[in-house]
């Protein structure tokens, strides 16, 4: 189930993923991100504490990006900057590292503070 309240970062809601996320538990993530899109002016997905994501999670990230765009909401992904970070590696392998708006890299989103 989605938590009733995600932490809010100014006007954006931070959806933080920890540990491993895949086909088994990604429906929970989908519910959380949909709730965040419904209830705030923007969403930051914090993947810095995540250790694994699969294509079901990547699909949710891309769909949320499109939905945020459609609704005029800010949207950004925070990724561990370490090159060896497994989630960064997966985003690279999938080709999405250059597609998803990364928090804190001047990608044009109006998120005010990216976790670092």
């Amino acid at each position: 189930m989605a938590p009733a309240h995600e932490p809010s970062n100014g006007t954006a809601t931070v959806v933080r993923l920890e540990g491993e996320h895949d086909y088994d538990n990604s429906p929970e993530f989908r519910a959380r991100i949909e709730a965040a899109l419904d209830g705030s002016q923007g969403v930051i997905v914090d993947l810095t504490e995540a250790t694994f994501v699969d294509s079901s999670v990547l699909g949710i990230l891309v769909r949320a990006m499109r939905e945020a765009d459609r609704r005029g909401l800010s949207y950004a992904i925070a990724v561990n900057p370490e090159p060896a970070d497994p989630v960064r590696h997966i985003l690279e392998l999938s080709g999405l590292l250059g597609v998803l708006p990364l928090a804190g890299n001047g990608s044009g989103t109006n998120d005010s503070a990216a976790p670092d």
Partner: protein
């Protein structure tokens, strides 16, 4: 559940394959098996002392293949099993994910973005998918090994077990 290569439901393996088999595991085709299969195989990969880059790629490819089987193989009938086999040959690591379900068919109702197969292709050095309608699907991913640590102690420059 651990099974021997000789007990694999789907095929007969050669003697050489028996020797190279590192893991043969059978899971029910349910969502919980996706992380279980990944964690189980990760343990075997860590024992082999593989580079993190390779471990990341095997973990992702394996996850996609098992998730595909869970999502699509048995949707028209009773739930079946998924077998995961890992072979370590001298120059390659081979991961096989098999089911006895409906066979490799397009999934127009897919909820993903169709990224599973492309990811399996990107992470592996060779991707083969075989199957027949109602006879199941076999996904075989081959990963080139840059050279495994040998039996001697002189191969200490490969480090970094685990991905966490």
């Amino acid at each position: 559940m651990y099974i021997g290569v000789s007990e694999s439901r789907f095929r007969t393996y050669t003697e050489e394959e028996n020797i190279d088999a590192k893991a043969v595991i059978r899971f029910p085709a349910i969502p919980e098996s996706v992380p279980k299969a990944r964690r189980n195989i990760t343990g075997h990969l860590e024992e082999l002392g593989l580079e993190n880059d390779l471990v990341d790629r095997v973990r992702l490819g394996l996850t996609e293949a098992v998730a595909n089987a869970v999502a699509h193989a048995y949707r028209d009938g009773e739930a079946g099993d998924v077998e995961v086999l890992v072979f370590v040959h001298p120059e390659t690591l081979v991961v096989i994910v098999e089911d006895t379900g409906s066979g490799p068919l397009p999934h127009p109702d897919g909820t993903g973005l169709g990224m599973g197969l492309p990811l399996m292709s990107v992470v592996s050095d060779k991707l083969e998918i075989e199957g027949e309608r109602d006879r199941g699907t076999t996904v075989r991913m081959t990963f080139d090994l840059p050279g495994l640590p040998g039996d001697n102690d002189t191969c200490g420059d490969r480090e970094g077990l685990g991905t966490r």
